[in-house]
Amino acid sequence: MTTPATGAHAQAGSHGHEPGHHEVSFFHKYLWSTDHKMIAMQYLFTGTALALIGGYLAYVFRMQLAFPGHDVPGYGLVTPNRYNSLVTMHGSIMIFWVAMPVLVAAFGNFLIPLMIGCDDMVFPRINRLSYQVFLVSAIILLASFFVHGGAFGGAWTSYPPLSAKGVYNLTPIGASLWLVAVALEFVAFLLGGINFIVTTMNGRAPGMRMWDIPVVVWMIVIASVLFMASVGPLIAGAVMLFFDQRLGTAFFDPGRGGDPLLWQHLFWFFGHPEVYVVLLPALGMVAEIMAVFARKKLFGYRTILYTTWATGILSFVVWAHHQFIAGIDPRMANVFTITTLLISVPITEMIFVYIATLYGGSIQFTTPMLWALSFVAEFLIGGVTGIFLGASGADIYFHDTYFVVAHFHYTFFPSAIIGMFAGLTFWYPKMFGRMLNETLGKIHFWGTIIAFNVIFIPLFITGAAGDQRRIYNYALFSEQERPGLQHLRELSTIGVIVLLAFQVFFLFNFFWSLRHGERASENPWLSNTLEWTVPSPPPHGNFAELPTVYRGPYEYATPGRKEDYWPQNAPITPIEEGAL
């Protein structure tokens, strides 16, 4: 899990342009590198490996829900305690150890220095340290599966007193290991995020003004700012919870002067901006892909920027919509309903901007474009169903039902998974120097998308009918049983199996193309941004000659030009200057 596939960089480009450069050992090149591209690969492979684990966990608990009480093939019997651990770890892994490392760390690391025209991050060694801390956090988390009691079973939201007292959660060691792993993951992303912010602010190529920075870079930087601001209070809360677990304090114990609601507030003050941290990079990647495969200038670049800042700021004042029925003051619930409904406006506006980008374009239905289009369609469903949940009145009924689960999978899956595939299929040629197979890519795409909807549309229905979350066997609670819905629960489970099965197409495509894919040119997609001006894959140091930037990243189909694209670093010739 620590090293990328050894074949990945077998065809790395020339290393010889650096003065005094020498061949490095395997250890230095793959395990101890400070090169942002290698660190990106480390995050990518760790994240995707954990995605497979997270997907397996989902398979297990969905099998339990579809066929309760039966041994799950490939796992065994799901006891109540094990069920709690499965859902807790599925959620935690997917958010903290898949979505964030892949979308923010892997793509941020790979793209930012290349897209802004410099050779690496401003602090390459801190970059390396951030991955190492992240790896330790992943190892601790996985180790928790094997301790006495098993992995933490108090839900990824970890509310005390369930999470504070081992007598309640039955996983006391797992609970503390989980906290330590999460805290380390936070440290890793603070280190990495600040590196991204400062690199983008200070390391840009000459001529690259704020308005010439590609949208995906902006998005990852803004996501890093949101993360940095929101995680602070939760780090404080995590320390408090750890002390409650281990040292007998009572920060969250109402019987001894504490308040469990404080944890909830601290958690969600982070938790809500966190979902935007995951959303923004995906939105950015979709923007890049749409401009390239519609051969059209991105509609409203500055609008996108201002909207994103507005969304980011608003995301800090909506958090208690996760706590509407937790016992918060109902008057505060009114406030948070209003802000939550408000935040749907800027996101909707961005969807309109993307659609406007497509309108009148020459659309090429490549695999990355299919992913980008499906992102918009699926996220739309997620956003719209969020309105129901943001209204506190409706939420009283929907909270803790599968309606919520379906809603957040229609937002998280597009962000984390569709975003990941969109980014990977688009930048694979640049990362690995080969082209992916389009046919396999399309089969993978359709299988994944259809299966995804088969999983979650039934859950909207069962949730609206009243199916509660985090119940391991409805048959034990007569008012929960609703046998009429069992076929929907089974359908959802079949969807999971089909979804996981189709990933074989992607994995095969990925590894087969590393060796046998068509060799990629510098710029197979005819894109404008700077990463497409260097060899595929880029050599250490990225640019043989550091570029100067003359224009924004979305000059596609500029009238009067022969080609329909105009790289950012192409100097303006006197003739062109006259023509324009």
């Binding site: 410099c118 401003v122 209070p233 809360g237 320390v239 040292l247 009572a250 002067g257």
Partner: protein
């Protein structure tokens, strides 16, 4: 490549602020949220629990005041180190950095005596709401003082050779931030009892 030369990105400065100082400001911003979250939680509880005044009356105001004086003085040394660094006086900067670190260690020693006395009296982390917050927030602050002092000593080694002088201002900024946190901790834990 165990200690690569600076990346070219590191040498650029599109914003006009040197990268090291820029990153220091962002680190300070992130720390504001960590301490802010903890302090906000404490203030909410303290305002709501007037009966914590009994426990709080046991904190040693004189020790707290002396420690405040120590940190203020060490901040003076930190900024004098910056002044020396700006004048390319590496040895002077190193001297002031070491004095600042000494102040930090003195702070920690006084805190050590304070806590030893309080623990002997039976007031430990789990002794109640006030004490839980007291040890947690002061402990987190003390960790930052320790880290800062150690980093200062490390930077002083280079500074004495007139190398990496811009770092002196940066660690100074961090130190002043830690001082400002204590400027608020002192009234919160020792005066507003």
């Amino acid at each position: 490549m165990s200690a690569p030369a600076r990346s070219i990105a590191n040498l650029r400065s599109v914003t006009g602020i040197p990268t090291a100082r820029l990153v220091t400001w962002w680190v300070i911003a992130s720390e504001m949220f960590i301490f802010g979250g903890l302090l906000a939680s404490y203030v909410m509880h303290r305002l709501a629990h007037p009966e914590w005044a009994i426990a709080a009356s046991n904190t040693n105001t004189k020790a707290g005041a002396f420690n405040t004086f120590v940190l203020l003085t060490s901040s003076l040394f930190a900024v004098l180190a910056h002044k020396a660094a700006d004048a390319e006086d590496g040895k002077g900067a190193a001297k002031y950095l070491r004095l600042t670190a000494l102040g930090g260690f003195l702070f920690l020693i006084v805190k050590g005596f304070e806590w030893t006395h309080e623990i002997r009296e039976g007031f430990v982390l789990a002794s109640g709401g006030f004490w839980s917050f007291y040890y947690t927030v002061a402990g987190l602050h003390a960790l930052h003082v320790l880290a800062g002092a150690i980093i200062m000593l490390i930077f002083a080694v280079d500074a004495a050779k007139n190398v990496n002088l811009p770092r002196v201002q940066c660690i100074g900024l961090y130190w002043h931030f830690v001082d400002i946190i204590w400027i608020f901790l002192f009234p919160l834990l020792y005066i507003a009892k």
